[in-house]
Subunit: 129 residues, 2 copies
């Protein structure tokens, strides 16, 4: 597979990272994402990393970059689904990922985005306790 | 990566297939999906295959199986994002994928599900022309 799919839901773009990232794939994702933010006038980007069991400085930097690029294009980025081991590694690596907001899961991420955005943001029923 | 992540949004489960499926991964996905349908009382499953550039009878059968299992558990399945080449291959293979509904993209899939479901289904703004 040559690229990571970007799913569009209203003015939200959703990316799930499932494969090991290498340079070219990361560049392609950044290109695709910035293009789609403009094309669809997206205001939010959700990146799900729940299937990543480890993270290195390369992925950390990529997430930071995506967040910065989105921010310049007036879109907010939320990284969701980080596993405990990944959180520990990030702290041990001393990576603070400036500008990257996180949430426990997709619904948390959507709630976070909704709170900080205009009322047209897609509504999702949340029946968690 | 050992498993394909299942994203939960309200009573909808979203799966994006990005990697080549093999037997064990397909079994794990079926297990996880049926477990999550019950655990979260999900009424709909959206499977995005937009990053698959080809499909074989194994994946076709897996999609059919997932759809049948979901149906038994009272959840509807919609496969979205099928590429033209995949559609052609399916027809050439003579695979009709009985019981599998399709839509062009996530938003189309959600609209399809919403039309056939109760009014609590998550709303997504659709501003496509």
């Amino acid at each position: 597979m040559e690229r990571i799919p970007i799913l569009r839901m209203g003015d939200l773009l959703l990316v799930t990272i499932q494969v090991d990232m290498h340079d070219r794939l990361a560049m392609t994702l950044q290109d695709d994402l910035t293009r789609d933010i403009i094309r669809f006038n997206a205001h939010a980007v959700l990146i799900d990393i729940s299937s990543l069991e480890m993270i290195d400085s390369f992925i950390g930097r990529m997430l930071s970059n995506i967040s910065s690029m989105s921010s310049v294009l007036a879109a907010k980025t939320v990284v969701v689904g980080m596993q405990p081991s990944v959180a520990m590694t990030l702290v041990e690596l001393g990576m603070s990922m400036p500008g990257v907001q996180t949430a426990l899961n997709i619904e948390g991420g959507m709630a976070l985005l909704r709170d900080s955005m205009d009322p047209e943001f897609p509504e999702v029923e949340d029946d968690s306790p």
